[in-house]
């Protein structure tokens, strides 16, 4: 089943995804599809299941029912090779989660060396290029604790990119940042999107979503209420809940 996928099919395909924590159903039948190179943003009030959804896409959490396919690989398959899946999917977290005992460059280099078994010298060249790409050239030997939140988050992005993923997931990556450093992270993500990386973002930055997204999904209480291209969703939302939410945040 994994072999049947071709690049013209959706790279991520969620069909009626449900997820419960005990009696609490967090995702109540989510369906969405993402094409290669597309940037989609998931917006919605807190607790609407946005973060849970992208954590399920990465198999960090198992789904209760439904189907998620990444390049044709079924994520809910019990025989799933999670490690193989995660090599295709990079993830950036709200709290950066850098490894505190390693320098910025080592953080970026670790996974390719130990997980992919690539040569240290090659990885180092690539890691330095990535550090430059996220505008952190010169900070290679700095430890995470000495970097600002925005810098740490950009190292985290570089760390994920070093695995050469096909898809990048961003879980509220600017939510924990100081306002002045939010911009530098968003610039990095936008450049990534412009390079053609498939991105799924959970975000509260509406202006950013409007600017970079090809498609915006509005979720509330575990369902997708409405979705569409940003220009229609942000200006001519049909659903009352969407209108209400947008009037509060815009």
């Amino acid at each position: 089943m994994a072999t049947s996928w071709t690049p013209d099919q959706p790279i991520v395909q969620c069909v009626d995804v449900r997820k419960s924590f005990g009696a609490l159903e967090v995702l109540k039948g989510i369906s969405l599809s993402v094409r290669k190179g597309e940037v989609i943003c998931i917006i919605g009030p807190s607790g609407s299941g946005k973060s849970t959804l992208i954590r399920c896409i990465n198999a960090l959490q198992p789904i209760s029912s439904g189907s998620i396919q990444i390049e044709g690989i079924e994520v809910s398959d019990p025989r799933l090779d999670k490690l193989a899946l995660r090599r295709k999917v990079g993830m950036v977290f709200q709290q950066y989660n850098l490894f505190p005992h390693k320098t910025a460059l080592q953080n970026v280099m670790m996974a390719p060396i130990h997980v992919l078994g690539q040569k240290r010298a090659e990885v180092e060249v690539r890691a330095r290029a990535l550090m430059a790409k996220v505008r952190l050239a010169g900070k290679e030997d700095t430890y995470p604790g000495e970097l600002s939140g925005g810098q740490q988050q950009r190292v985290a992005i570089a760390r994920s990119l070093a695995m050469r993923p096909d898809i990048m997931l961003f879980d509220e990556v600017t939510a924990a940042l100081d306002p002045e450093t939010v911009k530098e992270v968003l610039i990095t993500i936008r450049e990534l999107a412009e390079d053609g990386m498939t991105c799924i973002l959970v975000t509260h930055e509406m202006n950013f979503a409007r600017e970079v997204a090809d498609h915006v999904y509005f979720t509330d209480r575990g369902v997708i209420v409405e979705h569409g291209p940003p220009e229609t969703l942000f200006t001519a939302a049909k659903d009352e809940r969407t209108q209400q939410f947008l009037s509060q945040v815009l």
Binding site: A84, R86, G90, M91, F93, M110, V115, R159, S160
Partner: protein, 280 residues
């Protein structure tokens, strides 16, 4: 001025308070220990002076100190080896506790609980009497002297305590570190060895040193099973000097002082490390 005057007049109405004196004498634990020892020595010296033909306790300690200190060095050797052995085994056991393979985790848990909650002396007896004095492997006879067996006996509780230290330290790493490692496709083993343990070393150091200080002090238990460490030698010296009761305090006091001087700096250092690692 006015208020000062009224205070003076009304001072009699105020409840009586002891004025704290500024001349408080502060004695640190280290100087206190040495002071105690000196007092003990002085007291027994005074007593010993009634029989001038015999050596004073101080002279006896000086006379025997090479032997006694060699015994003490033996205690330290046993404690270091037990710590080495116990740490290696404890790391393995601790990783067993963290294993996702249920049976392994269960067995590790059982072993840890058993050896943590067994009296050290009982464990020591078990090892002393269950392990033969020599073993033959492929026609080679390896002698197992008492002190080696005692070392193993001490290594067992060390193992269990270190296992618990490892487990606690790894568990104290935020779960987000596990998620980050997972999302980068690290295997569980890689995550533990490359990401968890290196982060934990600092956190593990103070409790680990605590365990060491306990082991160092417990090595005297080996005297009960006949290992010629410091306490055994002290008893022998005491007997050799005719078992005079006034020698009891100085001789054993000397042993106490040796252990104190060895363990107190370790504990001091541990406390300092704990303070330093708490402020992050």
């Amino acid at each position: 001025m006015k208020t000062a005057g009224s205070e003076q007049r009304l001072a009699v109405l105020l409840p009586y308070r002891l004025v704290p004196s500024r001349m408080s004498i502060r004695i640190g634990p280290l100087s206190a220990a040495i002071l105690c020892f000196c007092v003990m020595m002085a007291a027994s010296t005074a007593w010993a002076q009634t029989t001038p033909t015999m050596l004073s306790p101080l002279q006896i300690i000086v006379k025997w100190s090479p032997l006694l200190l060699r015994g003490f060095a033996f205690n330290i050797l046993i404690s270091l080896l037990a710590m080495l052995l116990g740490t290696a085994a404890g790391l393995g056991l601790g990783l067993g506790l963290l294993s996702e393979f249920r049976p392994l985790a269960a067995v590790s848990w059982l072993l840890t609980q058993f050896f943590r909650n067994a009296p050290w002396l009982v464990l020591l007896f078990f090892i002393m009497f269950l392990v033969p004095f020599q073993i033959t492997v492929f026609k080679t006879t390896i002698p197992l002297p008492d002190w080696i067996k005692a070392t193993v006996g001490f290594a067992l509780p060390v193992m269990a305590n270190v296992a618990e230290v490892v487990r606690g330290a790894v568990r104290s790493v935020p779960s987000t570190q596990w998620e980050a490692a997972e999302s980068l496709s690290f295997t569980r083993r890689q995550t533990i060895w490359l990401i968890m343990l290196p982060q934990c070393i600092k956190r593990m150091l103070p409790p680990w040193m605590n365990v060491y200080a306990l082991v160092a002090m417990s090595t005297v238990l080996a005297s009960i099973v006949g290992v010629s460490e410091m306490l055994t030698l002290t008893a022998q010296v005491h007997a050799a000097e005719g078992g005079r009761p006034e020698l009891f305090a100085p001789l054993y006091g000397f042993a106490l002082l040796c252990f104190f001087l060895y363990c107190y700096p370790i504990n001091l250092w541990t406390a300092r490390l704990e303070r330093r690692f708490r402020v992050r």
